[in-house]
């Protein structure tokens, strides 16, 4: 046996490395992700991402600014940001309206202040097949912190996962490591939305809960990260198994991540 191992030393090393990687994944699933290697690799990859993306962004902006009037372009950008903010406020207002109808008999309501936000550009999209992340062009120098909520004009994008001085990595709601407290807007059923690579799964929804295809899922605010009432996903499939106490609910994010160019980071 030792002779066989000595003879196939390189193959044994590869088998050990495979086993080590599998073990590494299992302990992260059990105890949470490792953040210690993120900063150096993100710094290097982020540096190249900025350099590579810069000429393309420059050409894009030069073309659009000189071909289509400078002021129109600027105004358009500003109005888009304002529109995003207004849509967030509108979503929150709709949520408050339904809440108001339900709880009309109560007198005291806690006044919610709209969160302050920073507009960011998406400079890169995730390249790992096992995750869904994006890189934004602002970091700790602009007041971005870990776990801040990121939203777009349509709804929730994700949350800040790692921050560098000038860039930050955002984990999308479709990433397998993302969890978000949500509720069904129609009937207020609560659940936990987990990312499943391009789609999401609504977990811990009782077998008897009334969930239908097309139902809109909104943030419940219970996780303390996202404001209440932001649109997150639409239910696309509901499956009930007699043996399970919960329903299997699949949802599709409202935001189209492939077309996402700008977003807002909501400051705490």
């Amino acid at each position: 046996m030792p002779g066989l191992i000595r003879k196939n030393k390189r193959s044994v090393v590869i088998i050990i490395l495979f086993a080590f990687l599998f073990w590494l994944v299992t302990i992260q699933v059990k105890n949470g992700r490792f953040p210690f290697m993120e900063r150096p690799v993100l710094a290097v990859a982020g540096f190249f991402e900025r350099i590579i993306a810069a000429p393309f962004r420059f050409l894009e902006s030069a073309g659009s600014r000189y071909i289509y009037l400078v002021r129109t372009e600027r105004d358009n950008g500003r109005l888009k940001q304002e529109l995003v903010l207004l849509q967030i406020e509108n979503a929150a207002a709709n949520e408050l309206l339904t809440e108001n109808e339900r709880l009309r008999v109560l007198l005291e309501f806690k006044k919610q202040n709209p969160p302050t936000a920073t507009a960011v550009q998406i400079i890169a999209k995730g390249n790992s097949p096992a995750s869904s992340t994006i890189t934004i062009n602002k970091g700790s120098h602009d007041g971005i912190e870990k776990d801040m909520a990121v939203v777009a004009e349509d709804g929730v994008v994700g949350r800040v996962q790692a921050v560098l001085p000038n860039t930050a990595k955002v984990i999308l709601i479709t990433d397998p490591g993302s969890t978000l407290a949500v509720r069904v807007q129609r009937n207020r059923e609560e659940g936990l939305l987990e990312g499943k690579l391009g789609l999401c799964a609504l977990k811990y929804v009782s077998f008897y809960a009334d969930i239908q295809e097309g139902d809109l899922l909104v943030t419940s605010g219970l996780d303390g990260l996202f404001p209440k009432g932001l649109p997150v996903a639409t239910v696309v499939q509901v499956t009930k198994h007699e043996a399970s106490a919960f329903q299997a609910v699949t949802a599709r994010p409202i935001v189209s991540f492939s077309r996402l160019e700008e977003a807002l980071v909501l400051k705490k």
Binding site: I14, L21, K125, I171
Partner: protein, 170 residues
């Protein structure tokens, strides 16, 4: 190839994939340049070197994506190993069958990841994922890999590279 060259190439591939290839994506599905490159490495080197290269590439991708460290390293290691074994039996790298093989490797890796995620987290909508993401991405990657392999039309160059690798592996 020396490890530092691999590291340099992989560190460049990550931002290129993240920045330049995102405009090529259709409906959120883009080609996987890193996988196509690993496939080429596997065909030109051997199973051991390609498996190690796959693990290194996957690990870098995991860390740069701030995701589960080791998951892509684990799956890409197998892709490298498979491509390396395939490379021993394949001498015409520009044949259209390579596109089919790369598509199969990409699909197999996607299914493997979905199975692992089901094992670790559960509730993976497998069929939905298969038809809306894994199959289109595999086809797209296969097409990209075919173009990446076009510089290797020169059979003499391929044979020289392979001879060197076989010699080293023995």
């Amino acid at each position: 190839m020396k490890p530092r060259y691999y590291l340099a190439i992989f560190l460049l591939i990550i931002p290129v994939q993240a920045s330049l290839l995102s405009p090529l994506s259709l409906g959120g599905i883009g080609p996987d340049l890193a996988l196509a490159l690993l496939f080429v490495v596997g065909l030109l080197t051997g199973p051991r070197e390609a498996a190690l290269a796959g693990m290194a590439l996957g690990l870098l991708q995991d860390v740069s994506a701030a995701s589960l460290i080791g998951l892509t390293g684990f799956t890409r290691g197998f892709v490298g190993l498979g491509a390396g074994l395939l490379g021993r039996r394949m001498f015409d790298l520009t044949s259209p069958s390579t596109m089919l093989f790369l598509t199969s490797f990409s699909l197999a890796e996607g299914i493997f990841i979905a199975i692992l995620l089901q094992l670790f987290y559960g509730s993976v909508p497998f069929w939905n994922l298969l038809f809306t993401r894994l199959v289109p991405q595999a086809l797209y990657t296969g097409l990209l890999g075919y173009f990446l392999l076009q510089p290797f039309r020169n059979q003499k160059l391929v044979l020289a590279l392979k001879r060197r690798t076989i010699h080293r592996e023995l």
